[in-house]
Amino acid sequence: MRTSLNEIKEIEDYLCNNLNTGDRLIFEARMLLSKKLRKDVELQRKAYSIIQHHYRATLRQQLNVIHDRLFHDPSRKAITKEIINTFKS
């Protein structure tokens, strides 16, 4: 892999606690000395956060489709009625 991809892998190992104690201390020392590395770590942290957000947004869309199907399923008419009545009182 090219250098920049190796750096991404290294940051991932750091953020996922996959570095041993010695390597972790060295990495943290490098962060103290390098503003660019600190920025890259934060950017990557944010990237994981966005990946998680994307996963959940995708699942929500899928669950809404499944929910609509189940909610209007004739064989579930009784339970659907009970659910609707829950909000009428």
Binding site: E42, L43, I50, I51, Y55, R60, H67, L70, T86
Partner: protein, 178 residues
């Protein structure tokens, strides 16, 4: 990649259906009692199942209570949180031991939309790897790569692309780089 996502979609569908009849009515009753709507109940139920499903797919996770107690516990936490925040506008909170710390949540839906438009395929790949724990072997097979190494390289290229998109769109936020 589509096959990979389809298989995973089917697994979440059967996971959801298996719990719908048993738990949705309970969530509806709880939300109704606390003044919420049917739509609130649906959203909370979905978010709770998403969090629960994430926990179940995490290596080493063991359920310490009943499934019912766990799911309803998440629902109650999410509801308490929703009173103070708009739940749909931010990352989920409420379940213990989330992969990401609260401080890492996305505070900008705009940024997500930009990253999505710049690289949905990459987001799908990375989501499959990090969130669904799909192995590099399966990803390589779905993407037509000859080896796991090629899939790993693609994974890091995608991370680089997303990182770069975030960087380009965060430049005006001075505090981001402090």
């Amino acid at each position: 990649m589509e096959t990979l996502i389809k298989n995973k979609t089917e697994s979440i569908a059967s996971f959801y259906e298996a719990r719908y009849d048993q738990f949705f009515i309970q969530v509806a009753r709880l939300v109704s009692k606390r003044g919420g709507t049917l739509e609130d109940a649906k959203d909370l139920f979905h978010d709770a199942l998403i969090l629960y499903h994430e926990k179940l797919t995490q290596p080493g996770f063991e359920l310490q209570s009943s499934e019912e107690a766990y799911i309803m516990g998440i629902v109650k936490n999410l509801w308490s949180h929703q009173i103070k925040h708009d739940l749909r506008s931010e990352t989920l909170v409420g379940a213990p031991d989330l992969m990401l710390e609260e401080s890492n949540q996305i505070d900008e839906p705009r940024l997500y939309k930009l990253v999505l438009s710049a690289g949905k395929k990459c987001l799908d790949l990375l989501s499959s790897f990090y969130m669904q724990h799909t192995g590099l072997k399966d990803i390589a097979s779905a993407l037509g790569f000859s080896s796991e190494h090629s899939a790993a390289v693609q994974k890091y290229k995608c991370l680089e692309k997303i990182r770069e998109t975030i960087k380009q769109n965060s430049l005006h936020h001075e505090d981001f780089f402090e």
